[in-house]
């Protein structure tokens, strides 16, 4: 496929890998943030191409995985109500809450529907004026503009039966929390390309300066990621700590200003819980008070539902890059994609699920 195949070229990848080997003088620990990037690394076996001195640790960037447990429980409580049409992105349906998941709510008679865009939910609200339609607005900065747009559109049309259960998470504050931890070993970051398409690369400049850390905005194809790693290695070997943009075909320094404006209009920054990590200050979006009638937490009064996570899952350590999935005693045994114990096994882009799906045959990987 044009525009994609060139970023999946094995020969080009090998030549980049060679350049990395030529430049590297000591072991380095690098982190890719986004679950899509983790997925590519596993699916294409990029670690096989890299010199063993490069250790990739995997960040918290799977929006499905880090969606807080209590928000999932709130979603399940709303979706189970008889009149409600609950609309969600497909991969949220399998995510277990405390006791059940959306698939089971659907099986028990809940009207749970998969949508490809929040605007589908707005349309459903228009077509079903007598029924409350709730969209599950989860995700990073990437999905926030479309979700904001849906709320804005519903408000413009005066739809009274549409609302959104919003729990957006923001990348830079989470990275700051991870980098500030004394246990953090990360020496270079591959920042999430899609998030930066919206927010721009400039959001990462403070992080690079404050932690003297090289950061490269990376794409999602295997050649993108190898190129991003090469740029990080160059910076490390030169002693530089800058924000560089590998994903120039999509990302600018300022990002998509129109998208940022609509987000700003509908959402405000709040403290947010991350599944597997805990609460991180100023790391999420919630719906502003002037759009309160579209905020499902307020409409359905689910704000008081809270939940705690299982103790034996080491996802907090995995999502901060302190442990690998294969370091976990229950990985692949008691914790599998069918019976996930923790967040990163839940979504196909979660790091544990990616290890399980693609790499468990690899040397050193659990069978």
């Amino acid at each position: 496929m044009k525009y994609i195949d060139e970023y999946r070229d094995g020969k080009l990848a090998e030549s980049i890998a060679q350049a990395i080997r030529g430049r590297l003088t000591q072991p380095r620990v690098l982190m890719e943030i986004c679950g899509g990037q983790t997925h590519t690394i596993m699916r294409y076996g990029l670690e096989d191409l890299l010199p063993p001195e490069i250790e990739l640790v995997h960040g918290p960037g799977c929006p499905v995985c880090v969606a807080p447990l209590e928000v999932i429980d709130q979603a399940l409580a709303i979706a189970a109500q008889p009149e409600v049409i609950f609309v969600s992105y497909g991969d949220m349906l399998r995510v277990p809450g405390s006791r059940t998941d959306l698939f089971r709510v659907k099986a028990a008679g809940g009207d749970v529907r998969i949508a490809y865009s929040p605007m589908d939910a707005v349309r459903l609200a228009r077509e079903n004026p007598s029924r409350p339609v709730v969209f599950f607005g989860i995700g990073f900065e990437t999905t926030a503009p479309a979700n904001a747009m849906a709320v804005w559109q519903a408000s413009r049309e005066g739809l009274r039966n549409f609302s959104m259960l919003a729990a957006h998470v923001l990348v830079p504050p989470a990275m700051r929390a991870i980098l500030a931890s004394p246990a953090c070993r990360v020496e270079g970051l591959i920042a999430p390309g899609h998030v930066c398409t919206v927010m721009g690369s400039r959001e990462y400049e403070d992080l690079a300066r404050d932690f003297h850390l090289p950061i490269v905005i990376g794409g999602f194809e295997p050649v993108d990621l190898l190129e991003a790693i090469r740029l990080l290695v160059d910076q490390l070997e030169d002693g530089r700590a800058q924000v560089e943009n590998q994903y120039v075909r999509a990302v600018t320094r300022t990002g998509n200003l129109a998208a940022q404006r609509i987000m700003e209009q509908v959402f405000e920054v709040c403290d947010q819980k991350w599944r597997g990590i805990g609460e991180i200050p100023a790391s999420g979006y919630r719906i502003r008070a002037e759009f309160a009638r579209y905020d499902a937490q307020r409409v359905f009064g689910t704000g008081q539902i809270t939940a705690d996570e299982p103790k034996e899952c080491i996802s907090a350590l995995v999502l901060q890059g302190l442990k690998k999935p294969s370091d976990c005693a229950v990985f692949g045994a008691r914790c599998t994609p069918e019976f996930p114990l923790g967040a990163p096994m839940v979504s196909s882009e979660g790091v544990c699920a990616a290890y399980y799906a693609y790499r468990r045959h690899a040397p050193g990987g659990p069978q």
Binding site: E70, Y89, G97, R104, Y358
Partner: protein, 346 residues
Amino acid sequence: MSLFVCPVPLATRDTILLGHGSGGKLSAELLRDVFLPAFANPVLDRLEDQASIAVGGARLAFTTDSFVVKPLFFRGGDIGSLAVHGTVNDLAVGGARPLYLSAAFILEEGFPVASLRRIVESMRAAARQAGVDIVTGDTKVVEHGKGDGVYINTTGIGLLRDGLQLSAANARAGDAVILSGSLGDHGIAILSEREGLELETEVRSDSAALNTLVDAMLDASLQIRVMRDPTRGGLASTLNEIAGQSRVGIEIDERAIRVNEAVRGACELLGFDPLYVANEGKLAAVVARDEAEAVVDAMRRHPLGSDAAIVGWITNAHPGLVTMRTAFGTTRIVDMLSGDQLPRIC
């Protein structure tokens, strides 16, 4: 509203989920935990796509399938042609010559008779093309709102060829894995119509009767060990079943597997892997190494096999596991999915 307490894994499956019909791990569980313990017998326990039974002096293949596709009419076919092709193919890949089908209809109150006529006409044409007769049937009507217009069940019997023993348990190290053509056309055609995805190129279902292709293959070689049509769950699920039942490893080569541009594009968009997308007119076979080329040549002379190719090999390494050499030059696991693939968030 009561507060939820400490989370536990969702280990109990006390209700049927959509994933139980996906052909993946959940379907296999249902079979293992509910149906097999109740029905166990030597014919069923072989777990092929068709039962192989002896009646008088003849060896018959016997199979059944229900069709609940939405939309009822799609590019490249409809529920009627699909119901004929599906059952004909399950017989054919068992090495049988399909002879007779039954057709049972569950109709929803209010369904237009004109649509039913269109479906029935399509079944007639498909049956004629496949050389089978529909010789018995049944009709039931359910209340409005209790069905999606029409569900069809077809059951088929066919005559097994002498001296042929095809089974998913027969693959041996060194054998070749052959695929008859491109992957994912049916699944993406259905999905794009159902969800109103506006793809630049229209994707057509590959729904077709494979029995004449199978004839051509068996004329070329009797060293065909396994044949399967990779329907729901896709090629990945089919190969995992073969690897599991034969206790062998399978290594496939991504570069040898054909996926049409528009299907690839749609899969990229949705976060799907074409290896798991359904086909309704494709066939995967495991063939002894020495005869593999001859079988591929025979397939390529048939219109439904013009893109046939060797896409992988059976190995003694990693029994039960399917791996793929990627176009990129690395190797990864091709696992069995738990349920259906789900469109991802971003």
